[in-house]
């Protein structure tokens, strides 16, 4: 196969890029080696391509990026402000703010600070500490009383369960109370304090409710309690 000058020129880039098939390469070479017009053409284009490849990347001015950003997004200060405002919308920031607000509210509530009638004196650290301390002790006392009541009720319930399961010991296990006194009181003695009296009354009421709900025990202390 022999190529013409036009064919050779048309496939010159393929030759330079190494894209010719072996047969085409042979035809190209045989023509170029014998053609006085194509030999210098291939040499000059090859040289031009080599020169093109020596061109290096040109660095733009360092101000170009800033100029582009200013043209598209506005001045640097405005971009920073927008970025800052956008940061406020992040879920993490919102959670943090809510957590801090909830904590502050908790502390203020615990210290007895009135949101309806706020006073600057109420925000004094000593006042906050004193009130918080008082609140904590109050909560502790209420909790202790609640737990104590629960224990009494639980004790009564467990005794009643035992009696149901084993009726032979019913007489011995049921607490004997005086007919003339309310349940929970000790025999022959008055409560030492009103608080003890209240507690005894609470226990008595619980016993009455339990006796009403458990007819099995109506023959023992149940009847007496309801009386």
């Amino acid at each position: 196969m022999t190529w013409s000058c036009e064919q050779t020129e048309a496939r010159l880039s393929d030759y330079l890029d190494g894209l010719l098939q072996p047969v085409e390469q042979t035809a190209f070479d045989s023509h170029v080696n014998t053609c006085e017009r194509c030999t210098p053409l291939v040499a000059s284009v090859s040289h031009a391509l080599g020169a093109l490849h020596t061109l290096e990347q040109v660095e733009p001015s360092p101000r170009l990026v800033d100029a582009i950003l200013t043209a598209t997004q506005g001045p640097q200060t405005w971009r920073s402000a927008k970025r800052w405002l956008r940061g406020l919308q992040s879920p993490r920031f919102v959670y943090s703010v809510v957590s801090v607000a909830a904590t502050l509210l908790l502390i203020l509530t615990a210290s007895g600070f009135s949101l309806r009638k706020p006073k600057l004196a109420d925000l004094a650290p000593a006042t906050i500490y004193r009130r918080a301390n008082s609140q904590v002790h109050l909560v502790y006392a209420h909790s202790a009383k609640f737990v104590s009541d629960l224990r009494v009720v639980y004790e009564i319930q467990s005794r009643m369960n035992e009696n149901e399961q084993n009726p032979t010991v019913r007489e011995g296990t049921i607490p004997q109370t005086s007919p003339s006194k309310d349940p929970g009181r000790t025999d022959g003695t008055n409560p030492a304090t009103p608080r003890q009296q209240n507690r005894a009354n609470d226990v008595g009421r619980n016993l009455q409710i339990l006796a009403a709900e458990c007819p099995l025990l109506s023959g023992s202390f149940g009847e007496r309690s309801l009386r």
Binding site: S13, S44, A48, A51, Q57, S61, L64, A71, T72
Partner: protein, 189 residues
């Protein structure tokens, strides 16, 4: 490329930092295409700015399924360069002094001897000058293929012409460049 698509998505969601990152990643590339096409640094910086402004406004029209972001961006750059060429065609009478002056190349220049650097700088200036004398169709084809090292398929997408036309333009562009360089006295040794 995936990172570009991700950054574009973030930009569309209003994240300014993503746009900033896109600009930083591609400024050099856009500027070089503009510079090799116009041969003028100040003009290239203005054009680069216009390119990014147009990209910023039309970012919503970019579809990653139709090609990479770099290809799309190069296409926008090319269109703007052609517009600019047509707009300023009447104004161009002679090349300015600045156009003829070789620009100092920064990359890898530190490792060369001064005489090599001078020769390369001189040759680079001559090649740049020869490039700007090519017709815009041939110039853009040569720049995309031989300076931006793009594949034929990418160039086909950017220029929106068949692959045969792309190959033909590159071939004719190289031959024309060699002829201009010979006219300028730059011959193979």
């Amino acid at each position: 490329m995936e990172q570009d698509a991700q950054l574009v998505q973030q930009c569309l969601q209003g994240e300014g930092s993503a746009w900033e990152e896109l600009v930083r990643r591609h400024t050099r590339r856009v500027f070089n295409i503009c510079y090799r096409f116009t041969g003028n640094r100040a003009e290239s910086e203005d054009l680069s700015q216009d390119v990014f402004l147009r990209i910023y406004r039309t970012l919503g029209s970019y579809r990653s399924a139709h090609g990479g972001f770099a290809t799309w961006m190069t296409s926008v750059t090319r269109n703007l360069l052609i517009d600019h060429y047509r707009r300023t065609k009447r104004d161009r009478v002679t090349d300015s002094l600045e156009d003829k002056m070789p620009v100092v190349e920064n990359k890898e220049s530190a490792g060369r001897r001064p005489d090599e650097q001078a020769l390369l700088g001189e040759l680079g200036g001559q090649v740049q000058s020869a490039l700007t004398r090519l017709s815009p169709e041939l110039r853009e084809a040569v720049i995309l293929r031989d300076l931006q090292q793009l594949e034929y398929g990418e160039i086909q997408t950017i220029l929106a012409v068949p692959e045969g036309t792309v190959k033909s333009r590159i071939n004719r562009g190289r031959i024309e460049l060699a002829r201009v360089l010979q006219q300028m006295g730059v011959r193979p040794s």
